[in-house]
Symmetry: C2
């Protein structure tokens, strides 16, 4: 069994930015979704519920003060707590983006702006190309209720929207993060070889053997009377050629054909 | 503004099968995920928590009895309650699959079977091709904790796995449904034209005009002294050609250039 493939290092150039998220649970869920898809760099812009020793009202984040998110974030993060602990917290979106070359704002389909709109498939393709050349990229998600403000969107140089049912579209923040991070991982060249045995491919000669065997037995049992044997065999062969019959399957079929022959000869 | 595009009718040939789900909340969430991505056909195989008037223990589903799922399913389904109400309930997986030509079992990466393993991208490509020719397809999800049994998987003729971080993979049933339904919709040819204005593309001549204007002003201000003007202008032009400069942007630049000229002439 081969070793499992390694997550490409260039994924570290992709950051997920949650801009003014309201619900601690979503921050935790986002961390989990990210880690599941090999991403580790989380940025939080003015998360509404930073608890500090000073005040219950969300203050300006002071990098000198230690911070901690509400307990719920850590609980929901489950095994992805490390992503939370390493998260970068900033007060404004430009701070989260200033070393990035591409920043993709996630927008709902209902927003109609004149900046070109990409699907996640399109946007992520560009993101990965950029990350592979070691340049920083960001995917930016807005507040659960209000999304990104127009001004926040303008900080980004790309717009991505997740397409769906125009009459009913229910995707919350954590789900949107899940979809984007899934799309990212799906575009990585990630071999699945470690998960399955290489199937034993059979040779042309082995299929010849099988077809020859079919021909014999079909002849013997009278299947070819008033039929075009050549055409039938050619047509049947396509099944085995097209689907890549396996050696074990040939063995089963030929074993069966052999038994039929034996049975007929007995009569 | 164009009309929003219509969900293709052939999506009705794709069913989502939840096999022995334990948590009513997941059934509701799955319904929401489905409807968000234009799918409406939900099959439930022996959902553990069917409430019937007869018994609190999950009984054999009796089609003659009216059934209802636990309240939580309907609550979580939110605006997708219609999907629940139209769901088909059966006792066994073969019943859910017997008119399908393709059935894709969702499996975790940890399961190593010799049936070829597809990514969602690969599996969905085949599903859509099949649905487009009006043949029935199913995507089958197993129990939240135990997944599908080996026997259940064998009822399916395809295996799909969602790739991710080999060291940490946390995707629950509802999220897996979300990912697969997203993948389905993402492969539909769904125009986004209704969401944005067609940008006004500018003509070659208009860019000529802009470059000519730059040339004049750059010459006037002495920018070309000891520089290769032709090369610089050609190089700058690539910015406008490559990114498709818009008329409004040309107007701004040329207005600026005009002002520079005016200012210089004043001196």
């Amino acid at each position: 069994m081969n070793k499992p493939p390694v997550i490409p290092k260039y994924l570290q150039h992709i950051r997920v930015v949650l801009c003014r998220p309201s619900h601690p649970a979503n921050i935790g869920a986002a961390a989990r979704a990210m880690k599941t898809m090999g991403l580790t760099r989380l940025y939080l812009v003015a998360p509404q519920l930073i608890a500090t020793p000073m005040t219950p009202n969300p203050p300006q984040y002071n990098p000198q003060q230690s911070f901690s998110l509400p307990e719920e974030s850590y609980t929901l993060a489950s095994g992805a707590v490390d992503v939370l602990e390493q998260a970068t917290i900033v007060n404004t979106l430009p701070e989260a983006l200033h070393d990035t070359v591409i920043s993709c704002a996630l927008t709902s389909r209902r927003r109609e702006l004149s900046v070109p709109l990409q699907t996640p498939r399109q946007g992520v393709s560009e993101i990965l190309a950029t990350a592979k050349s070691c340049q920083e990229c960001a995917i930016v998600f807005g507040n659960e209720r209000f999304g990104l403000s127009i001004e926040e969107s303008m900080n980004c140089n790309r717009l991505i929207t997740i397409n769906g049912n125009p009459d009913y579209f229910s995707l919350n923040l954590a789900q949107a993060v899940q979809v984007l991070t899934y799309e990212i991982f799906s575009q990585i060249d990630f071999s699945m070889e470690h998960l399955q045995e290489k199937t034993n491919m059979v040779t042309h000669k082995e299929i010849d053997g099988l077809m020859g065997h079919f021909a014999d037995v079909m002849q013997k049992v009278g299947f070819f009377e008033r039929r075009n044997s050549e055409r039938l065999l050619r047509r049947l062969r396509r099944l085995f050629d097209r689907n890549g019959v396996e050696r074990e399957e040939i063995d089963i079929l030929r074993g069966f054909l052999k038994t039929v022959t034996y049975r007929i000869n007995k009569n």
